[in-house]
């Protein structure tokens, strides 16, 4: 009945949040990672602290596909509340594992799947005395059951537990005991392994498992950021948590215990933005991580920074909007908001990472760009990238890297000038030199959000106003040449069909390209990595007859931006949209493209 699926399956675990299942799920993920199999782990969790259903999905795929798959080959259903739904979600031929401590005969109603009961609670109650430990160990016990069913390498599991609890040997013992309870029960009662299982394959030693928020936080440390200001908001919080953790690791003076960083948990997002501006103004690299609602609140300062030309880095880990929306679900819904954030004529460079690897890289580039361009720069990640566990190539660091601090005149430079003018474009690239407070009275200038001229003086003169804002357009053209270029994946033969996507939609498109090829559809794929779009994006749009724009929002925001900024014929750009709050699955891309092409054929 069940087809054999080796290293190509989806395992989903349904538990109750706040019971410690995260570490159990991490164990499973890492065990398969160490077996050399490409894996990704995605959390589906409620906006709640304890007691509500939560799921963790692990996709195991020997080809390395990272996108969410809608299928469920093995479901571990440990939450009575969602048991029926969890069972319904299992793909035909799949397996359902449940805790058989309590009978559930009435509900076991599917004949096209295999249902396996293991008395996890009973086993743990018999073997552990403490109530809290019993709950925790129940999670570890299902790891044991799965280890037997999925053919996981038990030596690796043991090593992982020993590493995790290196400082608490007692916990090693109890965790191993729980693993064995589950493992032995499965061996004794089920046919192990299942037709769906894992097998040791390649070598993952040049890869790591990391989430995008951690990678971005680490990137800020490597970029030399010294001031981080923020207000807690899901799903961006992990970014500042990571920055703090890595700063504690790398930035505390060993002799004095003093900190080479400042983290300000602000009273709100408005203050976080103000703090970032203040710090950058005096010459410290400063950033804030936030999510959509935070950007709304920061918008006044964003426009201020654009007009007064203060560098600043804003990470927007996007979540489902509008308003509070669904804070623990993912979307790419703030691309329009960030591109033109604030009142008046404003536009901002945006970097669009597709995975944690790029979160790290682009965190560093964001500071370089912000200081080079003296303007706010956005890094648009999302909940899927930021909070889920990704397998990526190991991060590299070039020790010859030096930060680009942009045009900053020091005290000696200022002394050589006859007079210093803050907003005078000497080089013709739209960027004027700045000075830093505290250095030279001759270089002092006055930052003001009110009208100012190229000399930095207050103005209400129409010509002086226009002169300044027109220069900002020159700077925008400079930005176009500096932001990361798009990445083009050519089809195997000439094709009039193009696909454009960005960020976390990448994984689904990559897999869809292969699926489409099997259906006889060839497409060129361009992954946009930044705004403003550079010439390559415009050319790609010009060179294809039909371009599918794949993105995770309702209103086709990237498509709108492309129409606005490339002067293309809007009819050429076909939206392929996914905005349920779950990460975009490959099938959405394939179906969206096929439907459009079929409809065209019929017509």
């Amino acid at each position: 009945m069940s087809e054999s699926r080796v290293n190509d399956f989806v395992l989903k675990i349904g538990t109750v949040n706040g019971t410690g299942s995260a570490s159990a799920n991490g164990l499973l993920l890492k065990a398969m990672f160490r077996m050399g199999i490409p894996v990704t782990g995605k959390n589906l969790f409620p906006s709640n602290i304890q007691g509500l259903p939560t799921w963790y999905g692990i996709r195991v795929n020997h080809k390395g596909y990272m996108a969410r798959s809608k299928r469920v080959d093995i479901m571990v259903a440990l939450n009575a509340q969602t048991y029926q739904k969890d069972m319904d979600n299992v793909s035909p031929g799949g397996f359902l594992i449940y805790d058989s401590t309590w009978p559930r005969e009435r509900q076991l109603s599917r004949t096209d799947i295999t249902i396996l009961g293991a008395p996890l609670a009973k086993l743990c109650n018999e073997n552990f005395s403490d109530a809290r430990v019993r709950i925790l160990m129940k999670n570890i016990a299902y790891v044991g059951v799965l280890a037997a069913l999925l053919n996981l390498d038990t030596t690796i599991l043991r090593a992982l537990i020993e590493e995790t609890f290196a400082s608490k040997p007692k916990l090693v013992e109890s965790n191993l005991k729980a693993i064995n309870l589950g493992f032995n029960y499965a061996k004794d009662n089920f046919t192990c392994p299942l037709p769906v299982h894992a097998e040791t394959m390649g070598d993952n030693s040049k890869h790591i498992m990391i989430d995008g928020n951690s990678a971005a936080g680490l990137g800020c440390v490597y970029a030399g950021a010294t001031v981080g200001a923020w207000y807690p908001i899901t799903p961006s919080t992990g970014l500042m948590d990571a920055f703090k953790a890595y700063c504690k690791m790398f930035r505390v003076d060993k002799e004095t215990g003093t900190k080479n960083y400042v983290i300000i948990q602000a009273e709100d997002e408005l203050a976080a933005a103000g703090t970032v501006l203040g710090a950058n103004w005096v010459g410290a690299r400063a950033f804030t991580p936030t999510s959509g609602p935070g950007i709304s609140l920061m918008s006044e300062f964003i426009g201020f920074a654009y007009y007064t030309e203060i560098p600043a880095v804003f990470f927007n880990v996007q979540r489902v909007g509008p308003s509070t929306g669904m804070p623990t679900r993912t979307q790419q819904c703030d691309i329009m908001l960030c591109a033109y954030a604030s009142h008046g004529d404003t536009q901002h460079p945006m970097l669009l990472p597709a995975d944690p690897y790029e979160c790290f890289e682009m965190a560093v580039s964001a500071f370089d760009l912000a200081e080079r361009l003296q303007t706010p720069v956005f890094v648009l990640s999302d909940l899927d990238i930021g909070m889920n566990d990704w397998m990526i190539p190991e991060l590299k660091w070039d020790d010859t890297y030096q930060p680009d601090r942009g045009k900053v005149l020091n005290s000696d430079d200022v002394d050589k000038l006859e007079k210093f003018y803050r907003y005078l474009d000497v080089d013709g690239d739209g960027i004027a030199a700045r000075t830093l407070p505290g250095e030279n009275a001759k270089g002092a200038y006055f930052v003001r959000g009110s009208g100012h001229n190229k000399h930095g003086m207050y103005t209400e003169s129409s010509n002086e106003y226009k002169d300044l804002v027109d220069r900002l357009l020159v700077k925008w053209e400079t930005a176009r040449t500096l932001v990361p270029k798009p990445i083009l994946i050519k089809a195997r033969k000439e094709t009039p069909i193009g696909i454009i996507a960005f960020g976390s939609s990448h994984g689904a498109v990559i897999e869809a390209l292969d699926d489409l090829r099997e259906k006889g559809i060839e497409a060129d794929y361009m992954r946009v990595r930044a705004f403003p779009f550079n010439g390559e994006v415009t050319r790609f749009v010009e060179q294809h007859e039909t371009i599918f724009v794949v993105e995770q929002n309702r209103d086709a925001q990237l498509r709108s931006l492309l129409i606005l900024e490339t002067n293309t014929d809007a009819r050429k750009l076909v939206p392929v949209l996914h905005y349920s709050g779950m990460p975009i699955p490959t099938s959405c891309v394939v179906d969206g493209i096929c439907e459009h092409l079929c409809a065209k054929d019929v017509a």
């Binding site: 890492k30 990672f33 160490r34 030693s205 890869h207 790591i208 498992m209 680490l218 440390v221 490597y222 030399g224 010294t226 001031v227 200001a229 890595y246 690791m249 790398f250 004095t256 003093t258 900190k259 080479n260 400042v262 300000i264 009273e267 709100d268 408005l270 203050a271 103000g274 703090t275 970032v276 501006l277 203040g278 710090a279 103004w281 005096v282 410290a284 400063a286 006044e300 201020f304 991060l395 590299k396 660091w397 020790d399 890297y401 030096q402 000075t435 830093l436 407070p437 505290g438 250095e439 030279n440 009275a441 001759k442 002092a444 200038y445 006055f446 930052v447 959000g449 009110s450 207050y458």
Partner: protein
Amino acid sequence: MSFIKKPKINNIPGQLQNEIGLLKRDYEGVLSTLCAGCGHDSITAAIVQAFWELSIPPEKVIKLSGIGCSSKTPAYFLSGAHGFNSVHGRMPSVAIGAHSGNRDLVCIGVSGDGDSLSIGFGQFGHAVRRNLNMLYIIENNGVYGLTKGQFSAAADKGSKSKKGDVNQWKNIDAVSTAISMGSSFVARSFSGDREQLITLIKAGIMHPGCAILDVVSPCVTFNNHAGSTKSYTYTRDHYHPASQTDFITPASEIKVSYAEGTSTVVELHDGSKLLLKKASSGYDATDRSRVMRYLEQQRAQGEVVTGLLYINAELPDMHRIYRTSETPMKDLEYEKLNPGSEALAKLQARMR
């Protein structure tokens, strides 16, 4: 034209140099465009005098503000200092960022009652809470001048507007609010009392924490009529100094002698001293609960109590609490900030 350059005249006979060889004009800014007679201009003059007397190099100072008449004034003093005219009510957060980036800067923020007690009430509170090392002046006229005379949250209940409206709402008092929030330095003055103002500005600059200085500063255009409680006449009539302060730099010895039992000496971190003379009997600016009680009593009588009203020089400032490096963030070498490729490799070993 709202920006007028002030002519600088060199070599005026008798112009004094301060300890670092600067003249008073070196502490001035561009010409004020505020209304003639505006209390704010008197405060600007006092700021110029205080910085000159303290011999602080202008380039070591940052001057910040929000939005409103008061917030225009940083352009009128210390042209050699970098200035930051931010957005409405948000000056404190910019100051926090600036001071996080460079803790060596002397920071002065100028705000108004509209800027700090309404739109910026939250940020005002959090600057106090963090004890950010800055002088935070609230130029308080009880009115929104630039938008032509609406009451601010500082306007007293029963006060009359120029158009004849009577304010129905209780006022927010910056002084008692700051003290109740745990401020380390709270003072009130009057733009018309130059001597007291200069002393309090100097004390506030040297205080190693967030010094809140609320200055009653009458608006000659919209709030200087009969029935207003923020007019020159009303303030002069109800003016009540609770303490007299002398500021003494570390170099000078205490010469002023007060009767025993009527003065307190507060020593600041750099060795300078504040000598507090108790104008009212039993007033002790270091006893928070008694200060609160006293202010409440005087307020009920409609008195404008001035002077250094509360001080706790021992309260650690933001950087001391945080244990920030003595070297300003912006001066830390990149080599010190970047962990390098080896550390990255080692770190990633744990991610497998």
